[in-house]
């Protein structure tokens, strides 16, 4: 039963109790549940601004007392994380999980609210489903830094443009990105919108006069 629901994952999952981890406002508008639904799996495929997107997703929850862990990702810019609003004392890092990646993630899902995993591509599909089921059962959010077939949500950044830098003048100030949310199951209506990621102070901010949230045609096709 467990395996089937993990494999199909079409209907809203009953194990998730509907609680939602808060996400900063500009991003929350794009997410179907208005935040990170506990028990869900979110994929951040490699691409521009993927790391900043991770920080932006966990910042609000972290400030509210939630715990997050990042596994298998050495070289995380922790200053940027702090600027994005992540509380570093509640951000556990396991940079080198070694061959025990799955065991480590399972252990973390028991206690953490958000577990971000890098290098999950080398995890076998059956193990991936086990992890997703575990997250669902424990009410944690599993964030895959990389592709994760069967994820509830997939967030990616497009149309990345930095502001503040000239030719030999200025400095990097803010980056306008289009965030595209593709979803399966509960998130049928894929959406995209422009945000500043990071904004001027390092945290995610609403883009100034960006286009309104628009449904995305190809996402509907994927979802359908």
């Amino acid at each position: 039963m467990e395996d089937r629901s993990a494999a199909v994952r079409a209907a809203p999952v009953p194990e998730a109790d509907g609680r939602v981890l808060p996400v900063a406002e500009p991003l929350a508008r794009l997410l179907p549940a208005g935040g990170l639904r506990r028990g869900s799996t979110v994929a951040l495929p490699p691409g521009p601004a993927a790391t900043s997107l991770l920080f932006a997703l966990i910042a609000e929850a972290s400030a509210g007392g939630a715990w997050a862990a990042v596994v298998g990702r050495p070289g995380l810019g922790l200053v940027a994380a702090a600027e994005a609003g992540v509380r570093l004392e509640r951000l556990a890092l396991v940079p080198e999980p070694g061959p025990d990646l799955v065991a480590v993630v399972v252990a973390l899902l028991d206690g953490m609210d958000v577990v971000a995993v890098a290098g999950a591509e080398r995890v076998r599909a059956a193990e991936r489903q086990r992890l997703a089921a575990r997250a669902r059962q424990r009410g944690a959010v599993l964030v895959a830094l990389g592709s994760w077939p069967g994820a509830d949500l997939e967030l990616a950044c497009t149309d990345v443009g930095w502001h503040g830098l000239g030719t030999g003048a200025g400095r990097l100030r803010e980056r306008r990105v289009g965030v595209r949310v593709r979803g399966r199951g509960t998130a049928a209506a894929g959406r995209s919108g422009a945000v500043l990621l990071p904004g001027p102070d390092g945290a995610v901010a609403p883009a100034p006069r960006g286009p309104a949230v628009a449904p995305l045609r190809e996402v509907e096709r994927v979802a359908g």
Binding site: S52, V79, L91
Partner: protein
């Protein structure tokens, strides 16, 4: 039960300025060079040579260096102090039993044994000083008196106080002597006594104990007993029942300090839970270990204040560190080293007092979610080793990699380092709409203050003018300003949560302002910066590029076209460590990426990726 009024003869062996001695040994500073251990910008301890130059405890670092330019400034490290002290303790223990480590640098032992063996207190003192000097090369002084407090004071003066003369010995000493323990802060009591005109221990001792108790409180009663030359512990002390000792079998046996400390943490937690359930606190802790080879090691730590759990862990770690390191240094053969691994660890509360307010908040008021998270992290540590789970602490620094220190989970996140100045307040994190408690106006200030202010290091005009324009075109004063600049924003004051003395939050002129790179490679990645025609772009001066950046190739990859760039911003720091100066360049690429490049050692490196 012995009568409390007659304290036993105690022999104290004190090595002056132990933190400095240990630090100088570790840093290989020659003994004739003045040295000082500095914490929070103040001299914590200094060597005799430094003292001769006018350096004093509590002096500001800068002033100390002004008085003594040759001063070797050393960092404090309690672990190192304890580890370095172990050979001294071992040397003393060869001659006399029952050695108690009061703190690194000071041991106490009952005088009766060595005195009767060597035939006199003077002879015993001589023998111990000679033994320590011969075995370890450490200079130390011995004092003998009735009770530990008087013995320590006698050791500072290298005196032997005749039996019964202790109150007379103490009477002329100043009340400041009560505040000599580094763990206990009695400056308030001492200041009060001085203001009341009680300047000597004798004057304080002449007060009625009841008056002291009713006027000054519990700690003052203890001090009053000390001043009268009585046993410091209140007479309510009791011998702990045997079952309070906790032990753990280590399987597999542990021969690494970090792994042993990890085991010690759980054990200390258990010990304190047991003690708390009996309403007790521990004032003398016995640390015992059995090695695989069957050797039994035992050491007693004595504390002025009841041990906190963190203090217990520290002492166990120091002790294990000392044992394991000594073994390694002794040059054991590999198979013998196997026998030296610790197989059993045992904590014995040798002396307990009834817990006062200490039993509350033993492990802090940890919420359920925090506890759950902590358990998960400990389980990962059990899988991968204690060093594998870390949290980050922001510290000062200019480059992104300098600003972060990693602390293994469970260790103290308070590194004793000042927090960075520019940490934004928490309220900023909440969206203006969702949090009613955050006034929207303030939200706005934070959000809008970002783009309008110039980066800390460089005001707008300089940022614009560096880069392509030759620096020679700039006025001299402005060119100088690009490197050394004062910060505009005064550092926000953090609420003083703990009384630990801190450095003021330092400013880091030239620090890159937010946003910071989201990816900081653990070690810099080599990069090639070329102009549009393919010729390499280098630096002519720290703030002057030779050519216009056109393409960046990271780590031998395909060249990516540069869309915009800014810099180079030179940073000159740590010239005293031989670190070459560096210049930084922000580059935005055509494909949406942005890089922080650093020119160091005659080539470009990727120090951060804004992804």
């Amino acid at each position: 039960m012995s009568r409390p009024a007659t304290p036993t003869r105690v022999l104290a062996l004190w090595s002056p300025d132990w933190p400095v001695t240990a630090a100088a040994m570790a840093a290989r500073v020659p003994t004739h060079r003045p040295a000082a251990v500095v914490v929070a910008n103040r001299v914590l301890a200094c060597s005799a040579v430094a003292r001769a130059h006018g350096v004093r405890r509590g002096l500001r670092r800068r002033e100390a260096q002004a008085r003594c330019p040759d001063l070797a400034v050393l960092a404090p490290d309690p672990d190192r102090d304890a580890r370095a002290f172990e050979p001294v303790v071992a040397a003393v223990e060869e001659l006399a039993p029952g050695v108690e480590v009061v703190r690194p640098g000071l041991v106490a032992l009952p005088a009766r044994g060595p005195v009767s063996w060597f035939g006199g207190e003077l002879e015993a003192a001589e023998a111990l000083v000679d033994q320590v000097a011969a075995r370890t090369g450490v200079e130390c002084r011995v004092g003998v008196a009735d009770g530990l407090f008087a013995a320590v004071l006698a050791a500072r003066r290298a005196l032997i106080v005749a039996p019964g003369d202790t109150p007379a010995f103490l009477a002329p000493l100043g009340v400041e002597e009560l505040d000599r323990e580094p763990d206990v802060d009695r400056s308030e009591l001492v200041g009060l006594l001085r203001r009341l005109g009680l300047r000597s221990l004798g004057a304080f001792a002449a007060l009625d104990p009841e008056d002291v108790a009713s006027r000054f409180g519990a700690d003052a009663v203890l001090c009053h007993r000390l001043a009268r030359g009585l046993d410091p512990r209140p007479p309510v002390r009791r011998t702990p029942p045997e079952e309070l000792a906790v032990e753990v079998e280590l399987d597999p046996p542990v021969d690494r300090v970090d792994a042993a400390a990890f085991a010690a943490r759980g054990l200390a937690e258990r010990l304190h839970r047991t003690l708390a359930s009996h309403g007790l606190s521990c004032t003398r802790l016995g640390v015992a270990a059995r090695t695989v080879g069957g050797e039994e090691l035992h050491r007693i730590w004595r504390c002025a204040e009841p041990l906190t759990p963190a203090g217990t862990v520290d002492r166990v770690r120091w002790q294990l560190d000392a044992w394991l390191t000594r073994r390694r240094r002794a040059g054991d053969l590999p198979d013998e080293a196997e026998g030296g691994a610790v197989a059993l660890l045992r904590l014995v509360p040798e002396e307990t007092v009834t817990a006062g307010a200490l039993q509350l908040g033993l492990w802090g008021d940890v919420g359920e979610a925090d506890e759950r998270a902590g358990r998960a992290l400990v389980r990962v540590q059990a899988l991968l080793g204690p060093e594998s789970v870390v949290t980050a602490v922001l510290v000062g620094g200019r480059d992104p990699d300098e600003q972060v220190r990693f602390v293994p989970w469970g260790d103290d996140r308070d590194l004793g380092l000042p927090a960075p100045a520019a940490e934004p307040p928490e309220r900023r994190l909440r969206p203006a709409g969702s949090d009613a408690s955050a006034p929207a106006g303030e939200e706005r200030t934070w959000a809008s203050s970002g783009p309008d202010v110039a980066p800390a290091g460089w005001p707008e005009d300089v940022v614009r003018s560096t880069g392509r324009v030759s620096a020679a075109d700039l006025p001299e004063a402005e060119r100088m300003r690009t490197t050394n600049r004062r910060r505009r924003v005064p550092a926000p004051r953090r609420p003083a949560g703990r009384p630990v003395p801190r450095d003021p939050p330092p400013s880091w002129p030239g620090r890159l302002p937010a946003p910071s790179p989201a990816t900081v490679p653990p070690r810099p990645i080599p990069a090639e910066l070329t102009a549009a025609d393919g010729s390499p772009v280098r630096l002519r001066a720290p703030d002057l590029l030779l050519g216009l950046p056109g393409f960046v190739a990271v780590d031998g990859g395909a060249p990516r076209r540069v869309q915009g760039w800014a810099g180079p911003w030179p940073v000159q720091q740590r010239w005293w460590e031989g670190r070459s100066e560096a210049s930084r360049l922000q580059v935005a690429l055509d494909d949406g990426g942005a890089l922080l490049l650093v020119f160091r050692d005659d080539r470009w490196w990727v120090a951060g990726e804004y992804d």
